[in-house]
Point group: C2
Chain length 302, copies 2
């Protein structure tokens, strides 16, 4: 299989948009038709609703965008049936031609990190995601097992660098003479990619950098020229299209911008549709984000 950096570049160029749709199902927020006859306290019911909802979103967005990002937490919350819904959602998205970044923020040390890498990205993977978000706190030897598996399988990881939440700076901004912690992490991401860059110039190790920090997006784009950016924080968290402009390279590539609630729960915010036409609301919200990124970022150059 091709290297992940190239696979993602090809997919984004084909769709002509860096829009990434986050699959964050919450039972209370689902359209009424998917909650009908299902008990919020019954894990099998909730898992079935999540799977139907995510597949319904995928049906709408698969012709429009390159990537989806299921959030593991919400499936784990539903226990074993939730995990089955997650596996089925990942498989369905890939069958429909989408790349899947599983947002699990996993990590551990040494052989346990290798366990997570095999679990989510390996050749015999039970979950078969194309990429996984990974936390860097455990350091160098916690990241290399993921990079090894990613290289073997044409998969990728996205390392948390500068997250979108207000409290993220408490530790990420701790600075020594070489700059804040997030820049140390960014330097290490670039180092890991330097050995593994591919035809599109991007390596298997991406970086999570929040839309809520536009200046750091520019700073970090320069620090990590070989890293795909996964940019959360657009929409519900306050980031606008213009805020993410700095995440892209001069060719309009190098970043995917996530929107979860703003797309998947658009039916609750857009009076034109409502619950019955929730998939039309998803489609309209996806088109609106595509247009906004095209009009306000270098992604238009694609």
């Amino acid at each position: 299989m091709d290297a992940f950096g190239d696979r993602l570049a090809t997919a984004v160029l084909r769709c002509k948009t860096p829009t990434l749709v986050g699959l964050d199902p919450r039972f209370d927020s689902l359209p009424a038709s998917l909650k009908a006859g299902r008990d919020a306290d019954n894990p099998a019911d909730v898992a079935a609703a999540f799977e139907a909802f995510c597949k319904g979103v995928i049906d709408v967005v698969a012709p429009l965008v390159a990537v989806v990002k299921p959030q593991a937490a919400f499936f784990e919350q539903v226990g074993v049936p939730g995990m089955a819904a997650l596996a089925n959602t990942i498989a369905y998205a890939r069958q429909e031609g989408l790349l899947v970044i599983l947002d699990g923020k996993r990590n551990d040390i040494g052989s346990t990190a290798a366990g997570y890498a095999d679990a989510y990205l390996g050749e015999e993977s039970a979950w078969k995601a194309d990429a996984l978000t990974v936390s860097p706190y455990l350091g160098d030897d916690s990241l290399t097992p993921f990079v090894d598996v990613a290289n073997d399988r044409g998969a990728g990881i996205f390392v948390l660098v500068k997250t979108s939440n207000p409290g993220g700076g408490l530790f990420q901004d701790v600075s020594d003479g070489d700059g804040p912690l997030y820049r140390h992490v960014a330097n290490h991401v670039e180092l890991l990619n330097a050995r593994n860059s591919s035809a599109s110039r991007y390596g298997p190790v991406g970086a999570v950098v929040g839309a809520t920090y536009p200046e750091q997006l520019v700073e970090l784009r320069a620090v990590m020229p070989h890293a795909w950016f996964l940019v959360p924080g657009y929409g519900a968290q306050g980031g606008a299209a213009a805020d993410v402009a700095g995440a892209f390279d001069e060719d309009g590539l190098g970043a995917v911008v996530n929107n979860s609630r703003g797309i998947i729960f658009a039916h609750a915010k857009d009076d034109r549709f409502g619950d019955d036409r929730w998939q039309d609301a998803v489609e309209a919200a996806t088109h609106a984000m595509i247009a906004s990124l095209r009009d306000n970022t270098p992604a238009s150059a694609q």
Copy 2:
């Protein structure tokens, strides 16, 4: 339910040992009797072997120790059947009177962190662990949802502070004028506990500090007087009983010391037993660790 700090103190005092048994199943390392007739490439077979093995370990150690720590990665590696084996293992351990710290190193931001907290620790939790390991990289607002749920339910978390692996220092040792990153995290752990200490003096927010860093154990014990320590790195990773002495308070409380491979796979290292008597090997290894900690640490004062 009582606060987690008190529940753990009561359990450790009852067993008179801080020994914590890590449940890290790997198919290749299981005793032959548990592999027989099972296909290493069949997830249902592997999951069944993991569950039988973990229950067999629990049967041996439940009368001897207070706490077990299943490692989520190895169960996730087996997909949905593995997750069912994890849920059954947690339930069985609690039924046998053990406290369960799930080693998942989870975290995310805001409402997603609340999802993980509900998933693993909440009143309606699908997995029902007593505590969960948590990564701090995402900062303050990623930790408070866990603390809130923990307080509500008498549960706990263990925040990664100074991990046992050789590469952990790459980011954890980045230092500003107030000290290294791990001390910033430690200060925050203490702050979270200051508002929530309990009768035994320990709050719901523990700290992971590796046995491979004996000096930092002493330093961090002073920084976090209200935090239970979870000490990995004993045994296979090179930490000895004397190395963990600094993790305890003057009453011999305040720390649990993990041993995974050294106990659960003892049959492979101890010629007296072998595969057929693997549970006897687990028992002997547990007794040996209990004696070593009693003879070489303040835990003898319990």
